[in-house]
Symmetry: C2
Subunit: 354 residues, 2 copies
Amino acid sequence: MSSYGMSFAHRKSRWMEGQGPSQDVVISSRIRLARNLKDYPFPPMMTEDKAREVLNLGCEISEALNHEGSAEYSWYPLGKLDSMERQVLIEKHLISPQLLRSAAISGVIISRDEAVSIMVNEEDHFRIQCLFSGMDLEAAWNLADRLDSDIAGHVTYAFDDEFGYLTTCPTNLGTGLRGSVMTHLPGLVLTEQLSRIVSGLSKVGAVVRGLYGEGSQAEGSLYQISNHVTLGHSESEIVDNLNSIVSEVVRRERSAREALLNRNRVKLEDRVYRAYGILTNARSIAASEAIELLSLVRLGVVLGILTHIPIAVFPELIVGTRRASIQQKAGAHLDSDQRDLQRANLIRKRLLAE
Amino acid sequence: MSSYGMSFAHRKSRWMEGQGPSQDVVISSRIRLARNLKDYPFPPMMTEDKAREVLNLGCEISEALNHEGSAEYSWYPLGKLDSMERQVLIEKHLISPQLLRSAAISGVIISRDEAVSIMVNEEDHFRIQCLFSGMDLEAAWNLADRLDSDIAGHVTYAFDDEFGYLTTCPTNLGTGLRGSVMTHLPGLVLTEQLSRIVSGLSKVGAVVRGLYGEGSQAEGSLYQISNHVTLGHSESEIVDNLNSIVSEVVRRERSAREALLNRNRVKLEDRVYRAYGILTNARSIAASEAIELLSLVRLGVVLGILTHIPIAVFPELIVGTRRASIQQKAGAHLDSDQRDLQRANLIRKRLLAE
């Protein structure tokens, strides 16, 4: 069910390149625009017929985005994807778990490099998402803005002169813009500064969440930092504000790492090397243990403790060893024990290949 | 203070060759004979003058054992060894901790291959010990018996026609013989059969102790099995009895290992490989953790899970990474953190050298 003849688990999203500005701390940057159609009720209030009309619009927009017959964008009605493929899309951050709730009447447009995914009939009619590697909200915003204009050429958005873009949930009202930056903060976790910083961030309009967004647990010291407010500021102001908030977090994470090295370099090296030793030798490993150890190894790589592993390995392994991705890669349904075995093999071979 | 120009920590005892009969389970076999002199009070009741006379006898016997001017045996008055060297001798099982209690008036004769150590003025005037690699009580007994006769040519033992050899502690009365076999029982530990087997052994006249004898904790699944009774049986009977007791333990350990493999081979392989991964990567490791991980790696080697590591590595590392040996090898006094670092380096380099 893929246009490219291979399942999503075998492809690497652009954000998974793992390189980019501030790559020592920042994994990826995402801009999301929430948009609704003027002449349709918001998704929670839509009849199934209306929802199908919006779904058809999604398919049309996908084709329209392919200028001059290019095949850059593909349209995936969720009903045509099996449950494993849907799950892989979630693991790759291309769709939200919420999109599955109404799988029969939802769909997603995905670009070839997977930097763009436009969800149709999630909480809003359209959710335009641009996801880049490293600290690059600017690039993500520019692309999202361009796509937004392109789509506006085909449909009429629900827009109010006073409130701006109208959205299902009032927290998205106005710009409908949410920027999210995925950060790797092992230094702040190990020096026990994180909870203080998280509560500080909430006071400057930012929200901190775990790897898979709202309600998900923080694993592997990976934290998503997003803007809270979407109303009363221009898009550029929101992006600039989030940029400076994240820059400050990056600065603090770097000094936490410095402090760890200065306080007890051997202890830190020991933790990094033990994590590497387990990952390159274990024959069975649970997802939760794997991500914690990968986090330590990534820290070791950016600090120059481990020198032979490219940083791009981490997003690849963090996504690639999750429940659905690992099964799709294996081409089989695996029980929990089999997944742990497969995960250990995958990580071991990938790390030893370097 | 060594006849061979290097400290004890740099030399390998014969028992540390690590090979021999039933080497998959048995590390080493020891025979110890307790002997006292007819015309001297037992050590606890001796004056210092008398103790010094016995000490001089020890020195004379050492020379007498060197037939035709060979330099096979050396004499070490404990007062001439520094505290680190004394500790290394304990770690190598060449002397007992008890010998240090009266260091000024005690000594030890040690053979060049360290298969023989004869303690003078420990609990008894003489304690003849022969220590061999693998399951070889027979060889140890034959050598101890020969040395016993040689020494009897120079001194008169305290011997009673009814009781046999007289000893300070009544539990050694009769033959004065104690056989001890150091076994590696990870299978029985992991399958939780050990405590049942230990209590069974006590009913057939055997005692089970940890790595460093009486009162020491069992570490790394290493257990010393010894005969309890020394009176009322001939030496051969005692040796034969201990031999068959240990053979039965070996049989049970082997079936426990089989059971572990059959029950969940991946789980066992995973444990072995993780231990190997940590030992070949850690930058700091405590003695207690090191011995537990070495135990798992040794199990992996004898089960053919790890194929490139010679079994002789284990006694070398188990002794060589202990507190005093590690400092004597480093040629410096090290604090606890420094020892952990040195220990990790030593193990890592040794295992990676194979």
